[in-house]
Amino acid sequence: MRITTWGLVTVLLMVLDWTRPGSPSALRPICDPLVLDRFIQESRDIELAMGTCRDRCRLSESLTVPRTSVDFAAWERKDVREQTQEVQEGLRLLGQAIERVKASVSDTALIGLLDSSYDNIHSIKQVIRSLDMQDWSPSSRTWDTWTVSSMPELFRVHTNFLRGKVHLLLSRAPACRQENH
């Protein structure tokens, strides 16, 4: 009886630990701007590598990608939560688009570029997670999106998205501001 009771208590504690909401990230906040700069440079290199590709890089279907243009005044009017959600939604859309393109491409060089681009997005998500901003569930509102029909356009969107919204979000991350001050 005693063993059984203790076992139940242990299981209960484990369950509570799993379901505990808002658990802090175990990752150390990545606040170095050079980290994002490196991702931006990688993305730009992929975009330049894709520059000469025209016809064989045309997509069979249009892909939904996030809007990259940023109005500073409008951006500053949004709070950090909304900004984070917008960035996370954009990263999700980009990831989806890359996976769909990769499935329809047989060129190994292109596949290599697509893999690099996908790893890039995955790393950005990890950086955001380190800043403890990943658990905000996306709202039901519609986000600004548009469509692309070629791979060069897709990678251009990728680069501009990192330069713009992701960069703005990470440069003003609350976790990094707390470290600096």
């Binding site: 701007p33 700069d37 730009r44 809007r67 940023v70 501009n160 330069r163």
Partner: protein, 525 residues
């Protein structure tokens, strides 16, 4: 009230003037950018952003038209196109510049521009505004000395643009007068220039540009030059302090060495003048240097050595001392009888004389004194000079003119007297033969060797002096170990006394040509 109004008006005037000044400055910067971009940018329209919320596009035309002829449209991604109002400005060479300041700016997204003239599109361009920044030069450029030689510290303020703090790169250039040197600085708003000439005036300028990753653009114009002179060459206070400490330590060590070796140094630098005070106790302390008095009171304090008074004057001539018979008359006679007949008779007379002088014959004087005496004589100018003290001594041989050496005898006339102050003169084989009577004395008939055992008898029997060419004196055997064989003495002791004593003392008559310097010949008497 009047004063208040006047003050208000004055304040407004100042405000407007300042605004105008800033605008003029901005215009000046703007004008320079436009001028520069016309040469740099190849695409049309030429566009640049000065801040986060503006974009200026322009183009130049020579047709002399007006702004109304042109229309400028811009379209952001997936948006409707918008129109921008065109303004014109006259330029050099009958050219006209047309400008468009976009009211709405969006970064990180493609912007499509189109220019129409009289309804016809003349220019078309797609661009990203975040890549077209043309910033103003950095403000508050400051150049200061760092305290080290050949260094200057340069600091400035970054452009006051939000979100772009970490995306700037700067270029610093400096000169001492002739050539400019440039350095690129990233992610920092200060730099320390090194390797500069000392005590030299340098001019420094800075310009800025986005780093090209997130934001990009054109190099800004150079700031106004700021001059600063580098520090003159001066002794580093640390080095100076170290030198002083080392000098102090060395001085301390040398003083310590001087103090510890004071006595030895004193002796070397001021050598002690020997003072005879210890020999004359009380002479200086009691009697004040008065020797007469000291002598009177000293009593037995003075113990002069015999040599102290002797030989004040070296005697010049050999004095013939009183004859003495060194041996009993019988033995002398027997010896004399062994002599050749010619010499025997003569010798008899001499022996008688010698007998008469026998009374004056005295026992052997102290050997030590005698030897010392004759050593001193040797050093004298004349070998045959001796003092009267010898009169009291007995062991001597007197040679007078009656002595004649045997023909076989090697003549000794040419022998230097000075070289051999004392010599034993050997006359003949008979003489040497007579030696055997004295005892076991090795002899040689012709060589004239003289070997002696008995010191007392020997010399007097030998010398029936007749017709001597020189006189010599034989010393008693004082027990001093001397080997005066002339051959040896030349080699061993030049002018000195050396050798070893043995009973078989031998002498040789030196040959005529043989140098006899310092070869005293002794015969044990």
């Amino acid at each position: 009230m009047t004063m208040l109004r006047k003050t208000q008006h004055f304040g407004l005037l100042i405000f407007f003037l300042s605004q105008k000044a800033s605008l003029e400055t901005v215009d000046r910067h703007f004008e320079s950018k436009v001028d520069l971009l016309l040469n740099v940018e190849t695409e049309n329209p030429k566009c640049f952003a000065e801040g986060m919320r503006d974009l200026t596009c322009f183009w130049e035309d020579e047709d002399g038209g007006s702004a109304d002829q042109y229309s400028f449209t811009y379209t952001y991604e997936n948006e409707k196109s918008s129109e921008c109002k065109v303004t014109s400005q006259p330029a050099e060479g009958a050219k006209t510049r047309y400008f468009c300041h976009l009211p709405k700016v969006q970064h990180f997204g493609d912007l499509y521009l189109r220019v129409f003239r009289d309804g016809l599109q003349i220019y078309n361009r797609s661009l990203l505004i975040n890549l077209l920044f043309w910033l103003d030069p950095p403000a508050n450029l400051t150049v200061t000395q760092t305290g080290k030689l050949g260094q200057l510290k340069v600091t400035w303020l970054p452009p006051p643009l939000k979100y772009m703090e970490n995306s700037m790169m700067y270029e610093v250039r400096y000169t001492a007068g002739s050539t400019w040197k440039e350095k690129v600085v990233r992610e920092s708003t200060e730099i320390t220039l090194q390797g500069l000439q000392v005590n030299t005036k340098y001019k420094v300028q800075v310009r800025v540009k986005p780093d090209g990753l997130t934001y990009d653009g054109f190099w800004s114009s150079w700031t106004l030059p700021v001059s600063m002179t580098t520090a003159p060459k001066d002794v580093d206070p640390l080095i100076l302090a170290l030198c002083l400490i080392i000098t102090f330590v060395l001085v301390l060590l040398s003083l310590t060495a001087l103090v510890s070796h004071r006595s030895s140094l004193q002796k070397k630098m001021w050598p002690l003048i020997p003072s005879p005070e210890n020999k004359f106790p009380g002479l200086f302390t009691v009697y004040g240097g008065d020797f007469q008095e000291w002598l009177g009171h000293s009593g037995g304090g003075l113990r002069p050595s015999p040599a102290f008074f002797f030989f004040e004057e070296l005697p010049a001539m050999l004095e013939v001392l009183s004859e003495a018979t060194p041996v009993p008359p019988r033995s002398v006679e027997s010896r004399a009888c062994n002599l050749p007949e010619s010499g025997c008779k003569e010798n008899e007379e001499d022996l008688q004389n010698a007998e008469s002088g026998q009374e004056g014959w005295q026992p052997t004087p102290p050997a030590h004194w005698l030897m010392k005496h004759f050593q001193t004589l040797q050093q004298g100018p004349s070998p045959f000079s001796w003092s009267t003290q010898l009169e009291s001594k007995d062991s001597y041989v007197t040679l007078d003119h009656s002595f004649q050496p045997k023909p076989q005898e090697t003549p000794m006339d040419d022998i230097s007297e000075e070289s051999a102050p004392l010599r034993v003169l050997f006359t003949s084989a008979e003489i040497s033969a007579s030696h055997s009577d004295l005892g076991s004395l090795p002899q040689s008939s012709r060589s004239g060797r003289l070997s002696s055992e008995s010191s007392l008898e020997y010399p007097h029997s030998i010398w029936p002096p007749k017709g001597i060419s020189y006189a010599s004196l034989t010393l008693a055997d004082s027990g001093v170990s001397v080997d005066y064989s002339p051959m040896n003495s030349i080699r061993t002791a030049a002018g000195g006394i050396g050798g070893f004593y043995n009973n078989d003392y031998k002498n040789e008559i030196p040959k005529p040509n043989e140098p006899l310097s310092g070869c005293p010949i002794y015969s044990a008497c």
